[in-house]
Structures are given as structure tokens and as C-alpha cells.
Symmetry: C2
Subunit: 380 residues, 2 copies
């Protein structure tokens, strides 16, 4: 059995989630738009799942648009209007690609990957209609001061009213990576739009949602039968949405314990590796960081060689982000936090999850120490 | 156990398909972009599934963009260029909605729901870049003369070359409804783009694809990590695509037998109902029609009452299309073929599928006859 330390890239579906989905594959397979009772029941179950999700994030069902994942949700959020958008240099490629379709400003982050809310403020123009800041970074785990940004945006909105500027200003956050560890309550976060992804919380792949407050006028990207209140057409993904609701319920119920547990395990792993390799460089904010994340660079080593060496010992880890990993390009996040190339090229992303135990991290620390030592000896 | 006669609205996942998908939920759950061997294996399995699909439709893997279903595929096909588009009055709502985003001409059909290729020709303008004609209609089952339309388009392209008109001209077909019964070979169909949907062929919901020949320059609607050759970003739906490939393989292998079998069963049902109710009106082309489809109107009756009466006897059927069904609007297809309102409002769509047997249609015919007779007596 391998030691999986790449939960930020993909999570296995929880058996309880799969069990919740199962009836909707072959028995309750009806089209929720069909008129007969079993189909009406499917519609009810679908709506109940949306209501469950809505309640967890403090929203109303009608404010959720179910999508095929975070990337589609982000694209939907960005397509609702034309104009200037503001985001940060360390966002997920989907946010950066969506932003590039418009006039945009990328706000820099500090060396821990944190954005200064004042820098967001300074980037706002009279025609800025969207600010998009990911709740937590998928590569280095840094958590952003989202509610402070929300307060700034609230103030700018008030200023716009006084100035007679009718351009709306919305705050969107991709919370795909923080879900399961951070509070997702939209009012407490202060967001107008929120992207979530089932695939990162032990739910099915290709299921996500965009929360948009009633005040946001979304513009559909996918038109047709008018499902999801006309915002995203196509026969509903009944099994997938029921799976996402169950997945979110499960991670939400044990969120605080799990944050504690993962944080302790991550710290054990981090301390062992830093003790063994004092030259190692940790990235990500050491306080405002997801408990699951450990980003560690071994300057002078080749991360790909480390990944394959570890794989040979049944330890599965990532180099850089899953998205950049296969393309031989350097991570834009590591560039943005100013990690030099020698360190970036020797960096691993270790992400913990549900099946990570004390024995797992101890074994992993031993194996990683052995492989890194071997590589150090080789290049010495 | 109820008698399901609404296969055009939704199909249960084949147990073999679900079995093929199952490993990718919890065991082989890895992100196909991750670098370690188990993830590389997932990538290979994903690509193999695409190759299987490609081979069945006579295409290359690189010409397939996997999507979250037919609606997204259609939207992707339509978004590849601006300009004038031509389609028919009886297309799926997704095609009509996509067409309405551009300058468009809707070509009328005859009373059997068939479009005359010459009428398509007449609708073409020098700036027409897309013709979209569904392979078979989901409500009445009429099959379109697609290869004749393809020939016309081929000729117009040649004329454009001579005239120095550089506007490309593409033929797209939504074949969601014909899959499993009709030849989907893209060269024989003569299409440049083809939409397919797993949910209609005993595969998973929210999985579909757009085939686009290399000559077509698609423009992505969903940008981000660059998956699907940059045409549709988002972590790949591994389980879903593997399910779609298996589903397509299964229906393709028994296509000819199944067409024969369903056609015979449908004719039994049709003959029994027409014998019992000589005033009944059949819609859809009686020769060029999907074997699965029987659209029958009982003028003067209320189709919704029939649906609920049948449901009480465990027979599940549709009134009009699944998309229009819940909205109290009249089917645009029935309007387009000139079925008068009194007939349209009393019409049922009965669609047969894999689990339909001789005993099923005989029992269904008996029950439908009883319910229709009762309703006739009530309104008399």
C-alpha cells in the first residue's frame, strides 16, 4: 500500500459519498425534468442536496449554480461582466486564464504568498468590477486575509455610491483548496461569489459550484434547456451533486478536529525534514497556512528525480502544482514568492489528508530523508 | 417493477459501464496530470478510453474534446466563430439557444419533421460559417438526410474557393439521440463537428464530447489548466470518460440487432394503439425514424392526465420533450411540424430501450389502451 501525500491534486471518493451516489446511477436514473413521480423524487433529492450545500456555506439554494468543477465555476464568475478585474499573481491557472480575457491587474504577494489587502485597494480602478482572490493557495497552502479584503471592497462600494459610480464591485474567491479546513460561510468570508470543487473533498470529480449572491447578475456560458435557473443548461448531474453534498457534510462535520489532526501530523513531518536538512526552505505562510500543506525545497536537487525516487519507495508526492507538473515549466506561484530557481527546481509539495496517520508521516519522513540524502550525495 | 418508456429522456447506467467506472472513483483516483506511475496509468486509461470512442466514430483522439454533456458540446461548437449560422426549427433547445446568440436562420421542416437539403442550401449566405442539424429528433425520432446536407455543404465550400470567399463552412450535428441506433462514423456522416452524450446510451450523466475535425478552429469556452488540448480546461473526468467509452462500445456492438429488435417492438405497440384508436395521429417520419420512438397524439385528450393515469399503473412515459415537459409550454417541434394544438396537447412520447421486451410492450399497450379509453369516456 503506497503512502499518498498528494491530496491537493486529487482525493479518493469517500465510500459514504459513493454509497450516497450509487442509487442515482442505475435505479433513480430518471431525468429530473420528467413529470412522473419517480423523476419528481429525483428532482427533490437533487434540490435537497443543493439545500444541504447551501446551508453549510450560509447561502440559499437559489444562489448556487452547479457546474462541472471549479474551472467552469471560475469561468462563469468571470464571464458575468466586461471590464477591469483584479486578482493576484499566485492564483490557480483557471483564474489567471479567465482574468487574461479582460483588462486585468495582478497584485503581487509577499514571500509567504500573502496578499496585502492595501495592495488590492490600490489596484482598484473606477471600472473594476471583480476582485478574485483564492481562499488558500493550492501549492504552498497560504491562506489569504479574505475578510479584510471584503471590508475594503465594502468601503469602495460605499464610496462609489457617493461618487455616483454605478459599476458594481464583486469579490470572488476560489475556495476549492480550503474546503474541508476553512470556514466557508459566505457572509463571514464576505464574498459575493465562491467557487467550490467536490474533487478536493473526497467527492466526485467534475462536480463543482459557483455561489453568487442575488445581487450578482451572472451571464450563462452554457445555454440550452434552462437548467440551474437558466445559468447553466444541461441535464442535472444528480449523482454528482448528491455526492458533493454528502462530501461537504462529512468534511464540514469533522473540520475542526481534522485541521488540528492534520496540522499536528504536518508539523511532525516538517520538523523531521527540517531537522534532517537544515538547508531546506519552507514555503507558504507558517501561521496562515492550510494544515494539510507542506512545501519544502531542497536547493540544488532535482524535484523530478526526488518524485521518482520516492515513487520507487511507494511514496507519492508532487513537484510544484499538479497543473504545471507535467509541462516542465516552473511554478508561477514559486516565482511570485521569489523562491530562486535552484530552490524551486528542488521543491516538493507534500499534502496530507484523511488517510494520513502518525505511522504514515513517520514512515514518509524516513523514506524522504533517505531519498533526499541519496540525491544530495549523488550531486555532491 | 414499472414499465419505463422514456429512454429518450434518460437511460440507466449499464452495470458493465458502472463496473468499468468503479475503480476510478476510489482506487485509481489520481489526477491524470500527476507525475507518479499510478497517475500516469490513469492518464493512459483515460487516453485509451478516448481512443476507443474515436475509433468507433472514425475519428482521431485528438479530434475529441470531452465535455460535461451534449449541451456544453453544442455551446463549444457554436462558440468557435462569429457570423451567420443555419439550423432547423426542430433542434434541441441547446442548439436553438446557441444559435440565437448569433445571426441565424431557422430552416423549416416538413410535416414529418424532415428538413429538405435544398432548403438548407437556400438558407446559406456568403457569411454563413455553421450549419447545425441534429441527426435524429429527440421528440418524434425523425432522422435527417445528413449526408445529403453534407454533400451540399461540400459543394458550397468548393464554390467559395472559386469565388475567393474565405469564410469557412462547417456542418455540426447533435447526434445525442441517434447514438446506439445510427452509424456515427464522421466521414460517412460527412460532418465537421459531432456532439455525443453518454447519458442517452446507458452511460453516466454529464459526460459528452465534441468531435471537431482538424480543420475546425475551436475557441475554448472554459479556460484554465489547458486540459483537452487547451479547448476545455478542468481536471479530466476519468471515470466518466471511461464509462462513456464502455457505453459506446456496448451499444455499438449490438447496434444493428437492437435497431431491428426495438423497431419490431415499437411497431407492435404502434399497431395495437392505432388499431384501438383509429383517430390517433402518429408524428415523425414513418420510415426515417429511430426504432425507439413512437410519438402518438390522441386529439382532445390532456397528455398530462394521461401521463399521471399511466403512472398510477406503473407505466412511465413522456409528454412532449423532457425539456419542455415541466414548463407548461407547447413543444416547438410539434408546432414546427404543424400538429394542431388539440392533437399536440394530447400527445405522448413513448421511447423504447434496452430493457423493453415483448411482454413489456404488450402490457404497455393494454394499459395505455385502458387509460386512453377511460379519458376518452370522461371527456365525451
Amino acid at each position: 500500500m503506497s503512502i499518498y501525500l498528494d491530496y491537493a491534486a486529487a482525493t479518493p471518493i469517500d465510500t459514504k459519498v459513493l454509497a450516497a451516489m450509487q442509487p442515482y446511477f442505475s435505479d433513480m436514473f430518471y431525468n429530473p425534468s420528467s413529470p412522473y413521480a419517480p423523476a419528481v423524487q429525483v428532482r427533490r433529492d437533487y434540490e435537497a442536496a443543493k439545500a444541504t450545500i447551501a446551508s453549510i456555506i450560509g447561502a440559499k439554494s437559489g444562489e448556487l449554480t452547479m457546474t462541472a468543477g471549479a474551472t467552469e465555476s471560475i469561468n462563469l464568475a468571470f464571464s458575468s461582466q466586461e471590464g477591469h478585474v483584479v486578482t493576484t499573481t499566485i492564483e490557480h491557472p483557471a483564474v489567471l486564464a479567465a482574468a487574461r480575457q479582460y483588462e486585468h491587474t495582478l497584485v503581487a504577494v509577499d514571500k509567504h504568498g500573502r496578499v496585502d489587502p492595501d495592495d488590492i485597494y490600490k489596484a482598484l480602478r473606477p471600472d473594476t468590477w471583480l476582485v478574485s482572490v483564492g481562499l488558500a493557495n493550492s501549492e504552498i497552502g497560504t491562506i489569504q486575509p479574505l475578510s479584510k479584503i471584503a471590508t475594503i471592497i465594502e468601503n469602495v462600494r460605499a464610496e462609489r455610491v457617493v461618487a455616483g459610480n454605478k459599476t458594481p464591485l464583486y469579490l470572488h474567491s476560489d475556495a476549492s483548496q480550503g474546503a474541508g479546513q476553512l470556514d466557508l460561510h459566505v457572509t463571514r468570508l464576505g464574498v459575493d461569489m465562491l467557487t467550490l470543487n467536490a474533487a478536493k473533498i473526497y467527492g466526485p470529480k467534475q462536480v463543482g459550484l459557483l455561489y453568487a449572491a442575488r445581487s450578482v447578475a451572472l451571464r450563462p456560458q452554457i445555454v440550452g434547456g434552462g437548467q440551474e435557473a437558466g445559468l447553466r443548461s444541461g441535464t442535472e448531474n444528480v449523482a454528482g451533486v448528491i455526492g458533493m453534498a454528502r462530501a461537504l457534510e462529512i468534511v464540514d462535520a469533522r473540520r475542526q478536529d481534522e485541521v488540528q489532526r492534520l496540522g499536528n501530523l504536518r508539523d511532525v513531518l516538517q520538523n523531521k525534514l527540517v531537522d534532517a536538512f537544515p538547508e531546506a526552505i519552507l514555503s507558504g505562510h507558517q501561521k496562515h497556512r492550510l494544515s494539510s500543506h507542506l512545501h519544502i525545497a531542497f536547493p540544488g536537487l532535482d524535484a523530478e528525480r526526488l518524485v521518482f525516487g520516492l515513487e520507487a519507495e511507494d511514496v507519492l508526492v508532487a513537484t510544484g502544482s499538479a497543473c504545471a507538473a507535467n509541462k516542465g515549466t516552473r511554478s508561477h506561484v514559486l516565482t511570485a514568492i521569489g523562491l530562486d530557481n535552484v530552490a524551486a527546481d528542488g521543491s516538493l509539495r507534500l499534502t496530507l489528508g484523511k488517510q494520513t496517520e502518525e505511522t504514515t508521516v513517520e514512515q514518509a519522513a524516513r523514506i524522504i530523508t533517505a531519498i533526499v540524502s541519496k540525491e544530495k550525495a549523488r550531486v555532491a
